[in-house]
């Protein structure tokens, strides 16, 4: 017997992602899936963001890594709710991992949830976690060719944060090319230029976050 099915293979993930959206919406939490390659500065950006917004809104963080709890330990020092997910080799977070973390986190009063994805410029773009928006972080040291090499990441993100702009003079990377290529892939993308090291540009980014949570 033949059965016509026509269902998306990742439907199971989509269903759980939709549940996550419902859970977070009911608690009044805005959620951001933060994606980048390893070492671009996701956790450092989160540290700067949490410190800058500590007196304004309550933030929580879900940390995704293949192994270890270094990132969660860094965030924990800032005394906000944080939980570490280890994918045990998996190259991305999926919606069920996030649901488990959301259920375990104390989220009373939290307005903004960051889900720091596994460092990877390919797979995280394919898995909906139920977040409100995806934000992509790219550091100047990765080079200006990345938008056109990893188009999916740029096409699915609402904003691009370009980090390590203080290192631009030393790495021969053209920030104008990054912005031009990112916008050609995704004309509505918001772009922020920051240095988490010097603090330059961080305020514009955190001001934007506040508008999302209001």
């Amino acid at each position: 017997m033949k059965l016509k099915v026509a269902s998306k293979i990742l439907d199971a993930n989509e269903r759980i992602a939709n549940e996550n959206t419902g859970i977070l919406k009911s608690k009044g939490i805005f959620s951001i899936n933060l994606m980048s390659s390893p070492g671009a500065g996701k956790t450092t950006l989160l540290e700067k963001t949490i410190i800058a917004l500590s007196s304004k809104i309550k933030i929580a963080v879900i940390e995704g890594d293949v192994a270890g709890s270094d990132d969660a330990e860094r965030i924990d020092k800032l005394h906000i709710p944080v939980i570490q997910i280890n994918t045990g080799g998996g190259c991305h977070l999926d919606a069920s991992m996030v649901q488990e973390a959301v259920n375990d986190l104390p989220l009373e009063g939290v307005k903004l949830l960051f889900i720091e994805n596994v460092g990877n410029l390919v797979c995280p773009a394919a898995f909906n976690l139920g977040e409100d928006i995806k934000v992509m972080l790219l550091s100047m040291t990765e080079g200006h060719d990345k938008p056109l090499k990893y188009p999916n990441m740029f096409q699915t993100s609402s904003a691009l944060v370009i980090n390590k702009i203080d290192l631009a003079p030393y790495v021969n990377a053209d920030i104008e090319k990054i912005k031009k290529d990112a916008l050609s892939l995704n004309p509505s993308m918001k772009i922020f230029e920051v240095s988490c090291q010097t603090g330059e540009g961080v305020e514009k980014w955190t001001d934007w976050l506040l508008t999302l949570c209001s």
Partner: protein, 114 residues
Amino acid sequence: MHEVSVAESLLKTVIDQAETHNCTKVDKVIIKIGRASGIVSEALTFAFDALKPGTIAQNAVIEVIDVPVSGICHSCGSDFNVDEKYVLACPCCGSPSFKLTAGAELELSELEVN
């Protein structure tokens, strides 16, 4: 890129569908894989075969329908088809701004069951 987790999801969907229709055995699983889905068919089949023993799909064979990439350009408006896996620019005008209309599929299309 992440064929094992996709294969887990596929196997679960196959079993759910078969059980919904009161079937006890799945013989064939026909899936559509777009060339721009980022999924390597051989790796997905390999992972599925590794996961299926002990389930009602343990004898199921995967048949892959390969879906080429096509799109519509935001700049020049042309409908285009390409042979490549990735499209970085419209083949007609070179613009990187386009919408894929096919090629991203990752779908369970049909089952042969008993």
